[in-house]
Amino acid sequence: MDMNEIKEIFFQECEEQLAELESGLLRLNDGDRDPETVNAVFRAVHSIKGGAGAFGLDDLVSFAHVFETTLDCVRSNRLEPTQDVLKVMLKSADVLADLTNAARDGGGVDETRSRALIGELEALARGETPVASEAPATKPAAPAHQAAAPAPAVETPPVNDEGFQPIPFSFDDFGDEPPIEPYVPTCEIVFRPKKELYAKGNEATLLLRDLSRLGEMSIYCDMDRLPSLAEMNPEEAYFSWKISVTSDKGEDGVRSVFEFAEWDCELDIRTVEEETVGEAPAEDEELPMQPVPFDLSILDEEAPAAAEDEEPAVADGDAAAAVAAAETATRIAQAASNASRAAAETAKADRAAAAAANAAAANNQAAGQTIRVDLDRVDRLINLVGELVINQAMLSQSVVENDNNGTSSINMGLEELQQLTREIQDSVMAIRAQPVKPVFQRMSRIVREIADVTGKSVRLITEGENTEVDKTVIDKLAEPLTHMIRNAVDHGLESPEKREALGKNPEGTVRLTAKHRSGRIVIELADDGAGINREKVRQKAIDNDLIAADANLSDEEIDNLIFHAGFSTADKISDISGRGVGMDVVKRSIQALGGRISISSKPGQGSVFTMSLPLTLAVLDGMVVTVAGQTLVVPLTAIVETLQPEASAIHSFGASQRLISIRNSFCPLVDVGRILNFRAMQANPIEGVALLVESEGGGQRALMVDAIQGQRQVVIKSLEANYTHVPGIAAATILGDGRVALILDVDAVVAASRGQSLKPETSLAATG
C-alpha cells in the first residue's frame, strides 16, 4: 500500500468525519445538548487534524486546530453553544470541508474567509460572544495566541507561526489577563513499547525525542526485562522507560506525541502537579467558565470526559493498559458504562436516558461491521444477477412453451428458482442502497452559503434522511437538488423585510423530505416563499414564444412552464441561479434517472417541487404488451387497472379524440401505437386492451394497447449507452426470447397526448 492509497483512505475518512461533524453541529443547532453529540463533533475535527498532520497538510491542520480548540471549550462547558456560536462553527465546518477538498484535489481556498473564521473561532475560545466580523478589527491589537484557551492538543505546528494575522482583540471585556493562570504540570510517563510498535516502523527514540521537545525531561530506562543474549528474540521489545516531563503543553501534549503509537505500547501518563482533584462534575457544570484542569483523576470521575476521549489510553494506568490492548468495541462499551454512570450521578433522569441511549447506539454502531468494497465489484455482481434474471425468464418461457400441463415438477422448480433469483436480486440491490443523508447534508451547506449571499435568513428542515435509494440515484441527485435549492432560496423566498411586511416569519423555511412511495422514492422540496408568479411566468413564456399570447392554460400548466428550456424569471441574473442553466436542465437530469418532477405552487405560500425517482436503475416490474406487432413493457407502478373496453364505453370527442367512460367518469383514450408512430391510423379500441395509468402530473389516461402478454420483472438496459434518448421510451430490456423490448415512458406518452409533441432530440438520429 503506497502513500497515495493511504492518503486516499484518509480523505475518504475525512468525508465521513465531515458529515459527522456537520450533522452533529446541526443537532446542536436544534437544541441537542447531549455531551455525546459535542464529543462526536470534537472527535471528527480531531481525527481530521490528526490525519492531516500525518500527511503534512499544514493548512488543514492549523485550521482544524483552532476549530478543535473552540470545540473543546464547548465540550468542557466553557462555551455555551448558542445559535450564534453554532453559526460560526457551521461555517468553519464548511471551510474545513473546503480545505480538505483543496488538499485532495489541489486548488486554493478562500483564505480571507478561513482567516476570518480562525479569528472568530479564537474569539469564541476566549469566551467572547460572536460579533460582527468587522468589530474585532477596530479594537486594539493583541497577539491572538496569548489569550488562547489552555487548550490541549499541541502536536500541530503553532498556529500563530503559520502565517495568519494576529487578531486585533480587546481584553477590556474580562480583565487584562487571560482567564487561566498558566501552570506547568509535570507528567510522569511509563512508556512500554510492544514489538508491534517497531513492526509498524515506529521508533521509540523518535518518540522520546519529540517528548524531550515539550519541555524539561528526565528519563530512566528500565532494562529489567532484558533477557540474556541467548534467549533474546530480536523482534521482541524489552525496554521500557520512565519519563518525567515538565511542560506547559500538559498531559495532552504528551499524549499527542504518542498519538500514532498508543495502540502498540503500554502507556501510563500521570500528572503529578497537585490539582483540584475530586471536583464533582455537577459543580463543574454550574461554573461553566471555570477552567477544567487536565488532571487524570478528574477525567476519571467526569465520565463524559472519559467517554469522549478518543484516545484509548484514558484514565489511569490499568485502564490504559487494558484499553490499549482492547478492541474498539470494548472501548466504546466502557465509555458507555462510564457515560451512563456519570449521567446517573448528575441526577438528571432525561439526560441519563439520552446519554445511555446514545452510548448504546455508539456501541451498536461499533458492533455492526462494515467493509469497503470497490463499487465496480458490486456493479459486476449486479450485472451478473441481471443476466441471471434474463436467463431465468428465458428458461421459464421455453418450459412453458414445451410443457402442456403446467403442473410438472419442472414448473415447480422454476417457480422456486424465480423466487430465489428475485431474492438474490433484492439483496444485491440492497448493497447499493444508501440513505440520502449525505446529499441532504450537503444541501444544508448550500442553503447556508446562498443565504449569506442573498442576505436572506433561511432554515433548512430535512426529513426522511435515512430513506434508502440506489447509489447512482444519490450521486446524480446532488446536482439537480443543489440547483433547485438555490432556486428556492434565491427566487422562491422573499427578503426578510418583505416577509416581515407580509406578516411571515422573517426566517424562510425550506423543507427537504424524502420518503418511499409505491416502489419509488419521492423527494419533496418545499419553500414557504412567494410561490410562482404566474402572471410573470406567462408573460415571459409569451415573450419567449413558448406559448401563444392567447393560450388558455391552467395554473398547473403555467407552473410547469418553468421547466422549459431557457426559462428564468429572475429579473436580474444573479450569481446564484443565473448560470445559464434553468429548471429544464433539472428536469432532464431527473428524467435521465427515470424520474419525474412536478411543481405545485400557491401564491404567497410557496412552492413544492416533487421528484419521484425509481429506487433502483436496474430492474422494474412491468406488464408486457403488444402494440402494432411490437412488444413493449409498461412499468407496473404506473398502471392503475386494465380493462377491456366495450363499444358503448367509447365516446368520440372532437375531431380525433376519444374518451372512455369508466364508472361514469370520462378518461381520454391514448393509442400508444399512434403516439409512438408505429401505425398511421388509430386502432379500434374495442379490439384492444386499455391500461388505466396515473401520471405524475395528475390525471388518468387510458392507454390503448393491442394485447397483454403478461407480467414480468425486467432488467433495465440503457438505450442511451449506444443510441440516444427516445421520447416516449424510458429504456429497453431483453425479454425471454432474447429480443429487445422497449419500456414505455408513461409520463411522456401522457404528456404527448396532451399535445406536446414527441420529437427526437439531437443525436445519432438527427444526423440524417
Binding site: 446536482e479 436542465v585 437530469s589 438496459k717 443510441y723 416516449g728 429497453a732 431483453i734 439531437t762 438527427a766
Partner: protein, 154 residues
C-alpha cells in the same frame, strides 16, 4: 487476403465490405465483431436508416442500414446480411452491410483523395478511395457518419 496489399511497414488495416455493387472499407480498429443479421426491435421516431435495436449479449445495440445511411437504396435484410459491430466514439453501433469482402493492409500512399465530383454528403464521410486490383473501395470515416453528441444533462 489474396488481394491484400502486402505493405507491412506502417501499414494500417481496413475491413472492406460490400453494399449493393459498391465496396467500402473502415478502419479495423473500430470494428468490434461481425455477426449475422437478427431481426431488430423497431424504434419509434427513429430516422429511416435506423432499423431498430438488437440484444448483443445483454447490451442494446442500434442497427443502422448503412446503405440507406450512405444515401443508397434501403437494404432488405436477409439471413445472408452481416452486421459489423463498430465502435463510434463512446457508442457501439451495428452496421448492416451485404457482406464483408476483405481485410486490407494499406499505407497512406495507397489512399487516393476523394474525387471532387463528390457532393457534400459523400465528402462528409468519404476519406479517400483505394484502388485494389481493379476494384474501387471507398474509405469511410465512421465518426463523421455518426457524430456523437455529448450528454446534454447537467
Amino acid at each position: 487476403m489474396t488481394y491484400a496489399v502486402k505493405n507491412l511497414t506502417q501499414g494500417r488495416e481496413l475491413i472492406a465490405f460490400r453494399i449493393g455493387d459498391q465496396e467500402f472499407c473502415v478502419n479495423i480498429m473500430s470494428v468490434r465483431e461481425i455477426r449475422g443479421w437478427t431481426p431488430a426491435t423497431a424504434m419509434p421516431h427513429a430516422p429511416p436508416y435506423v432499423l431498430g435495436v438488437i440484444n448483443l449479449r445483454g447490451a442494446v445495440l442500434p442497427i443502422v442500414d448503412l446503405s440507406l445511411r450512405l444515401g443508397m437504396k434501403p437494404a432488405e435484410p436477409t439471413v445472408r446480411h452481416v452486421i459489423i459491430v463498430a465502435q463510434v466514439g463512446p457508442k457501439v453501433v451495428g452496421l448492416l452491410v451485404d457482406a464483408v469482402s476483405d481485410i486490407l493492409t494499406v499505407t497512406d500512399d495507397n489512399i487516393q483523395p476523394t474525387p471532387d465530383i463528390a457532393n457534400e454528403a459523400e465528402k462528409a464521410y468519404a476519406r479517400g478511395i483505394l484502388a485494389i486490383e481493379g476494384r474501387m473501395i471507398c474509405l469511410i470515416e465512421l465518426d463523421a457518419l455518426f457524430p456523437h453528441t455529448e450528454s446534454e444533462a447537467a
